[in-house]
Amino acid sequence: MPKMLAAAVLLLLAITLPATAEVVGPERAAQLEHLVVQDCGSCHGLTRKGGLGSPLTPEALEGQDRELIATVILDGVPNTAMPPWRPLMSEAEAYWIADYLLKDQNQ
């Protein structure tokens, strides 16, 4: 029985792992930060206080799940102007952006 549980845990880990296992290196991180500021900024504002898109400041996102944010980045929001970014980035990179948005960059 404990073996089964361990197997289940391992299986679960294996399923959820790809999202975080791939490491975003410093060079790619710099590119992603640039993407957030400049390209997300087209709709969400350079300071992320919003525009055609909703505000994405840490305050605006407070209480939001990083997984949900990553999913929105990857798959977009149907019937809105938020496009799916999956063709342009990996899941790990979307999670990196989610974490980046949730972190107060001024701290």
Partner: protein
């Protein structure tokens, strides 16, 4: 004798003693440096920057218009800032933060009024161009955009959330507002042709575009290219296309498609489709060279390192350049001999000869976006 002395003195005072210091503004322009809240004042003849002015706030998605005398620029910042810049003294001479979140503005045909479209709290505010004193606030029940000037001291704008277009007539003592409902779902931008007749709103939320004949006694919305839309091969839009008054190419109007990697051509009178051109990516700006012989197109992320040139008679791509990463905007000199192209991620503006399509100059600029030349002062819809 005294009179002669007085006359001589008078002549001395009014003579162009400082002729070497005088400067005309007809070949000047402003380049927005979006990340640093600053602008460059550029000289087209010198192909050089002649000054940098700071203090404009958040200039992401900034645009500007020029006063009728081409001396002042009115800069619309994302943060709601409306700033008046003197191109000659290179000083900010007025600034108001008139809303929380703004998207652009326009100047009335008589040069007396400045209107600003706002996302937050929505609607349009109208200011005295001289003093920046607010004259009118027009609520709209949503995000105002596609704000254009129209003949007869009018402004026209659309509302993302409600799918309405409003025509604001400022010719009388009180503003007269006409609301056209049901222009389509989620208008994202609009243009007015340079004759001031046709207002075209692009729609994000449904197929086709909407045109309004502003010359009509009773302007009404008319759907154009109704069959054009998302279709089966809808593509993600990583940057909204922009509709601008540089759309008239001969007898046609050129429009960037949305959800498709295409430029659309319509007859400027019948508004029926005359062709499509497959392009390198999702077009952002499709700008007709003055005279309309060619159209230059730039693209959304991730294809934004490229500019294509399309022949307006054959609809064929006749040139393709790679100015560098993140080409955000283009501006033609007044008779179209040069095109200035902002390359955000290489911090430069590249100047092209529009005949040879070869670069002929370069200006350093900090994350440049919009480029605006003073000749816009004398055109409708810019």
């Amino acid at each position: 004798m005294n009179r002669l002395a007085a006359f001589l003195l008078c002549t001395a005072l009014t003579a162009p003693a400082f002729a070497q210091e005088l400067r005309a503004t007809g070949d000047l322009g402003v380049v927005v440096e979006r990340a640093t809240g600053s602008v460059l004042i550029v000289d087209q003849s010198e192909r050089a920057a002649i000054g940098r002015v700071e203090g404009f706030g958040d200039l992401s998605h900034a645009s500007l218009v020029f006063s009728a005398d081409e001396r002042f620029a009115y800069i619309f910042g994302r943060d709601g800032g409306l700033t008046k810049l003197d191109l000659l003294t290179q000083q900010i001479v007025g600034r108001v933060v008139q809303a929380g979140n703004s998207i652009g503005g326009a100047i009335s045909d008589d040069g007396k009024l400045i209107a600003v479209a706002n996302y937050e709290p929505g609607g349009v505010n109208i200011f005295d161009a001289e003093t920046l004193e607010q004259l009118v606030a027009i609520p709209a029940g949503g995000k105002a955009l596609g704000l254009e000037d129209a003949p007869g001291r009018k402004f026209v704008f659309s509302v993302w959330d409600t799918g309405e277009t409003k025509i604001v007539d400022m010719s009388g003592p009180e503003p007269k507002i006409t609301t056209l409902s049901n222009i389509g779902a989620e208008p994202y931008d609009a243009l007015v042709t340079d004759d001031g007749r046709t207002y075209i709103a692009g729609l994000f939320g449904e197929d086709g575009l909407t045109s309004i004949d502003l010359w009509a006694e009773v302007p009404e919305p008319r759907r154009i290219l109704p069959q054009y839309g998302r279709g089966k091969e809808e593509m993600p839009v990583y940057k909204m296309p922009h509709l601008e008054g540089w759309a008239k190419a001969g007898d046609q109007i050129v429009l960037p498609a949305i959800h498709h990697h295409e430029v659309l051509w319509i007859d400027s009178r019948t508004l029926e489709e005359t062709g499509r051109t497959a392009t390198h990516g999702q077009p952002v700006f499709a700008m007709a060279r003055p005279g309309g012989r060619q159209v230059w197109v730039n693209f959304a992320h991730p294809d934004n390192d490229t500019v294509q040139v399309i022949d307006s008679m054959t609809h064929e791509v006749v040139g393709e350049m790679k100015p560098g990463p993140a080409v955000l905007h283009m501006e033609f000199t007044s008779r179209g001999t040069e095109a200035w192209v902002s390359v955000r991620d290489e911090n430069k503006v590249v100047i092209y000869d529009t005949t040879t399509l070869e670069p002929i100059g370069e200006i350093a600029a900090e994350s440049p976006s919009g480029i605006f030349f003073t000749a816009r002062a004398h055109r409708l819809g810019l």
